[in-house]
Subunit: 386 residues, 2 copies
């Protein structure tokens, strides 16, 4: 009977309108109706990506899209630069290495940002670098990189910029074209408000030139085949698409358009600020810099004396609330609230009050109600609906 | 994009399992499959009603079931006794008067209980009284009557006891048989966790004797026809039933059985206690006696200086949270939280924190977070899942 709350950075809650769309009868993927859906989804994604670039739609989760941005770019022996400041930066390193790249890694302490000038220096030091791989929002820490600055630097070189925007796109302003992001990958299950199973890549003209020269074998993930098939009046996907998820994505895009991208971003700013003020009011320490645009994930240090491994378990088993723990080297050291996508003031309140009860059970000296109070004060200043 | 919370005493939130059942393909009501569903629903309702009496299932809302308990009992000129302490007591008076009864009304101040000894005296004063009409939980005030005591009194007379348990059944322990309730009416949209549209009446042998003698014209609501049709291996309803709601009710009953009736009652006790402690922590005054078994509705006096008419409106329009206002003479004077049915700790927290923000906006001096703190302390002592 217990109600369940997904206060995690993916999968995220799915709006009822999207759940309804998901349960529509299955459309055949070679039907004209599916062509319409595909076109609408692509047009909607261009609005959210703020791009005129081509959008590739894949039946895959985020890691599939990340791998597609490697196999379409990297030939064995190619030089790539990875800026890593968390678990998903490590994934760029593994993916590029898997496909034979010579990887130069800029490793930053988890919880900090990639330093744009380091990218500039690394590119200057090795003009053979073909691509730069970074995260927009690093899901494992909640930290946001300055893609605008990195994009300006990379644009001045022959290298292309590949950005994992899986947890950031649709939550925080990301100007794919203005910021010169050449391949921008995303997934359906974060701020795009659809269950996992769809992944996207926005590919620039600069990237296409590299893709067309890339000889690494690929079939399912081949961007060239996908673009050809997805173009024109009878646009389709080359292989069977996740049709119901596409119908759902279309419904979710309608909701995002109705709310308006600026309002969506502002809602995320308010929710993230409320989450941060809430945890601080409990005397907890935020993990990473306090960035007013880092609005997908709030990462919190586990306080001294508390068994971090138990926080998520008690929240889930006792209160039906899914929080995220730390990944990799942060396991047991932080816990995370996700708030990208279909989140409102209620989720933040429930998440915070649940954390109060869980921490109290684990022996932390909780000032009950303090986090809700701090969050409410933030909510009351909102100019957008929450 | 705003999430909506129904923190009202009906309609109430519907569990996802029940929503799924509701969207199953429509079953034909003369199919053997529907007979199975009808039997299962009736058996499940007997478990919840704690009765061996016959259960009549109607495609109607609660008022339809109330009217059925009048037209099957009252001949014009019959004497009836109504104990009224709220808006739905007034409805018993109107319904019985509509059908020509000579009504003796015991009127109590709204927010107080029917006094059992008054019933005893009234029955002694007029041995012609054929039926006593009262509420279990008076939805308009949240006050619970002592049906056990009233049942004992009425059982010693030829009169039958008719109880409106619409907002109480399934939230608070109601022993239909042990407490000698002769007709007990309920609706699907409260603690039974289904959207509105189904209504039920549990009818005792003592009541059947009266029903069979009743000459008031009735067709759709006729219990005799309904019992005949609903009996036996090929049980059906006499007229088209609300089949999808029945399928949904069946799913909801499964959830109630899985949780167990005692745990359901305990969950409601904890949620109601948390709501009450929460509002008291804000310095607000509860409306009505603080009764540990009155667990369907928490009624709160609007504090001085606050425009009571605006509380529900702001909660709804600004925060997506539906609360209930006062009805009849209590309009603008109280507001109500409903928490009968598919409610958990999250709903109470969201309801309380929303009230904090709304009252602050309306000029009340709110101690932010105090209500959440008080509720959390209650939740943490729970021995059942919330």
């Amino acid at each position: 009977m217990q109600k369940r709350f997904l206060i995690t950075p993916g999968p995220t809650p799915v709006p009822p309108e999207v759940l309804s769309a998901l349960s529509e009868p299955v459309v055949h993927h070679r039907a004209p109706r599916f062509t319409e859906i595909l076109k609408q989804v692509v047009a909607g994604l261009k609005y959210i990506y703020q791009t005129e670039n081509d959008i590739i739609v894949l039946a895959a989760s985020g890691t599939g899209a990340m791998e597609s941005a490697v196999v379409n770019i990297v030939n064995p022996g190619d030089h790539v630069l990875v800026g890593s400041m968390g678990n998903f930066g490590e994934r760029w390193k593994k993916l590029t290495a898997t496909w034979g790249a010579e990887v130069t890694a800029l490793d930053y302490e988890w919880g900090t940002k990639v330093v744009p000038v380091d990218i500039e220096r690394a590119l200057a030091a090795d003009p053979a670098i073909k691509a730069v791989y970074v995260q927009f929002s690093e899901t494992s820490t909640g930290v946001l990189n300055d893609i605008r600055a990195i994009g300006e630097i990379v644009a001045r070189t022959p290298a292309i910029l590949v950005v994992d925007a899986i947890s950031g796109l649709g939550a925080t302003d990301l100007k794919t074209d203005d910021w010169c992001v050449d391949i921008c990958v995303a997934g359906s299950q974060k701020a795009l408000m659809v269950p996992p199973g769809l992944a996207y890549a926005a590919v620039s003209e600069k990237a296409w030139a590299v893709v067309e020269q890339c000889t690494t074998p690929r079939f399912y993930y081949d961007y060239v085949t996908a673009r050809k098939k997805m173009t024109g009046d009878a646009a389709q996907t080359p292989y069977t698409p996740a049709v119901s998820l596409m119908v759902a994505q279309n419904a979710a895009i309608d909701l995002i358009k109705e709310e308006g991208l600026e309002n969506v971003f502002e809602r995320h700013r308010i929710l993230a600020r409320a989450a941060k003020e809430g945890v601080k009011a409990l005397g907890l320490e935020l993990f990473g810099p306090e960035d007013p645009e880092a609005n997908s994930v709030t990462a919190v240090r586990v306080p001294d004396g508390v068994d971090g491994g138990k926080i998520g378990k008690i929240a889930r088993d006792k209160w039906g609330v899914w929080l995220a723990g730390g990944q990799g080297e942060l396991k047991g050291k932080i816990f995370r609230f996700g708030h990208c996508g279909y989140f409102g003031h209620s989720d933040i309140i429930v998440g915070l009050c649940t954390v109060e009860m869980v921490l109290a059970e684990l022996g932390y000296d909780v000032k009950f109600g303090a986090s809700a109070a701090a969050a409410e004060k933030v909510f009351m200043q909102s100019t957008v609906q929450l």
